[in-house]
Subunit: 149 residues, 8 copies
């Protein structure tokens, strides 16, 4: 079984790379949103034409990104959602809700100090991790039954 | 047709009351989460027993609240999600994602300065309002076809 | 059993009234889009704020109308879609596709000269009528087993 | 990930070829209806026997074509619907509604002058393009995150 | 709880009346196809216009009847399908398959000599009865827990 | 909102009565399996005819009971599953799995010493209670936001 | 695209072979029930133990066969159901209803004299053929757009 | 067709090995929970951090295991659930209910003396076997139509 894992959320640190590298050798197909912040913000107007209004500039981009994110989330077995130290990250929480409603296995990754603010999302998750390495261990266990030594 | 409308999100201002009052006379059944912050935080341990760990204290409460919120969201035709001036409000964004994945009509209510941070959620919505009065007008129009004079 | 019937499509003639009047006495709950053309076009900007661009002016209105039309279509047992003599009426065809994908019983109402252009939609329908009176007879038969004399 | 993309709608210009050619090198599996107009119109009677009535002639053909179109739409991740300069194109709008109800990512392609008539369909779409080249850019961005230079 | 029970199949004996009469006092809402054989056969052409071909005459009628039967089956909690002594009764078997795929509780009613020919349908059923009175007892037990004395 | 609550599991103590009595005044519609053990065991053969084999005697009864239990579980918002001090109670665990797969809000009620053996089921639940009175408090909180004093 | 086609129904003539042979070269994966009549009837007792009662002998076999038939039907894009000259063939009609409720593309194959008795099933089908060769032509057209010369 | 078969339940005997070995040569992809009892119990705390409370120790482990078991069950065509001679095995029954609600083909494997206690689960199954070898014969028959000699 190839496990399909979608890595949602924070795009300013190397947590995705640490998971993908750590999971080498496991039969996992990883996917993620576009993590180039500028491209992600401007894709809509870059392709479909400029907008005077920031609101519609954002709408065009967010809609294009949704083609990718929804397709990947719907195909995923496991959705990992990362909340970082800064920013609102409402789209990460939105993805978590979207994945939960579809019955996906949800894994949440965040520093412990966000625990209270994220309690509803943690409660919908099957695992709450603090480090990318724990997520790798979760995925390894799920696929092979092996625990970290 | 009675329209079922769930009012999700921020619990520190009177926006729900303004919508419910403004919508008097319309055939709408409103629902909402428990908006007593203390009760909402402590319901789990108050009923099911104390916890030493804050994490599990929160888990018990969030899970109890999920019995109510998921039942209401699944029954709703329209889910209104309000983002306020402060706090992380990740559970509001989670509800929005949950509602979107279920195909509910989503209405988002937030001050314009949150527009960029909420662009993915706005893009999943059928209406983005700035005031509770606009939400009332949306609901009145949906049910009666009447526009504000 | 109350039959829920949604009347989609053309808004320039009195076909809805003829069906509703003809069906008096039958246990049917009829619903329809907002049929005030001006209100339907302008509802978005009237409630949620003006737009410079016609495209987004239309987007806002179409999205508001979708709150109503999708809710009604999802609740309907039977969706009647009327194609009239003029206009593109792409939203009528869109509603027909939407209803078909949801497994709704589809009834199409159009003059015979549109038959070839509507063949894919007719093929998805359980009845193709030419007059509102035939639709009434269909609904009466479905509910009571009575045929026209 | 191979992206499954269905190209629905107008069959009188080379827009499909332009998209398929433009997307060479991307991991996309394209599908489309039968675009031979005569075969598409006559397939039913050619295989299953002649009909005296034009209505049933059309019905037989439209039903056969539905075996293909529904299968492809249900398998697709993205449904691109093209509206051209002429004809009613109600089946394109029907496909758009069908895809929308199934939760497919919808991309609409049409000249700007059709904007008002297509506003309900545009509002259900995640991208509205004017040229096939823009659709290619959308698909490239979705798969690779690359923007046009 | 009102139990919705659809009575499908054979229309030449009084088995429906015996069930409805026997179930008086129970909180059941019964539904059934149109059981007037002539009306059921001719409804399509009577309402929507005559056909030269028997095949399309039948198609029009069967499609109209499907508006009723599918609506009722989709609303039912329990679908009772009766196979009588004569005729092919393929539509009864079709209804049984339709109900089974929707996860409805299926009750089959037939004389024991049809057991082998109906073994696939019996295997999909939660009860196989030989008399309408047994069906009444099943429904009474399901609603009240009372067994026949 | 009337909350639909199904009370599954152990039938040898008065836990259901304690919940129903405790919840008086709340807008709840309770349902339950047939709790007359003898009737539940023998309903199949009592209505549909005796069986020589105990296996098929049991099959007939279990299938009849499934008409009731599946209908109620599918209609429920909340499924409460009680595990008592004795017996295998595999059907209680089966109901819990059935409810979980349907996305119902699951509440589990069992003495703490069963915690390890029930850990998979507890992990699928939104509340784990030890007494019927706690279940009443959960239901009261869910409907009214009131906590026990 | 590999088209998954399930061939249901009559097992006493070579219609399946004619379709499979005729479709050589097309990208189709065919499936079918076990067509060895004796094995199909006796599989249950041969594997799971003898039964005194013919009814339960049949039940065991029909249930085993359902493992195969439901798996194949659920995976199929197209379900072809053949009704032959003799026997009740209720399981063919059951499969047709099952496939229709799942939204599969249904193709029915029967001699014209069964038309009236099969009118409800024909009305749920996208093609009604009289010969296996027509079914091959339908499949070829669906996959390639080619019509018979 | 590769048949996906999930082997749920008892982990203290070699029944899975006997099925996998017996099915060699058949086109089956087998999956199973982690069957290392200690790893399965402690995976949660080993990866995500220790817990003082046994209840939450168990919760963390059960939730991690659910990532694997639900993914496999949702992908399976056939779910085989084994009940052994000892232990409560409530999670086996939970899996059976979960699989049944998803419409999976359920095969139950248990010694005959458990028949009465398992009657509700047996009634939801398409086959009830007493030995792993019978399960192999069931799978061989389903895939090839061959009966044991």
């Amino acid at each position: 079984m190839t496990l399909d894992v979608y890595l949602s959320g924070e795009i300013h640190t190397d947590w995705r790379e640490r998971i993908v590298t750590g999971a080498e050798g496991l039969d996992i197909s990883f996917s993620a949103p576009v993590t180039d912040h500028a491209a992600s913000d401007d894709c809509g107007v870059a392709i479909l034409g400029a907008e005077d209004s920031k609101f519609w500039h954002d709408r065009k981009g967010a809609s294009l990104n949704a083609i990718r994110t929804r397709t990947y989330i719907e195909r995923a077995d496991v959705v990992v959602v990362r909340f970082g130290e800064q920013y609102k990250q409402w789209n990460a929480a939105f993805d978590a809700g979207y994945a939960a409603a579809l019955g996906k296995a949800l894994v949440v990754l965040h520093p412990p100090e966000h625990g209270h603010a994220l309690k509803e999302i943690d409660a919908a998750a099957l695992a709450v991790a603090e480090t990318p390495e724990q997520v790798v261990q979760v995925l390894r266990y799920v696929l092979t039954g092996e625990l970290p030594r």
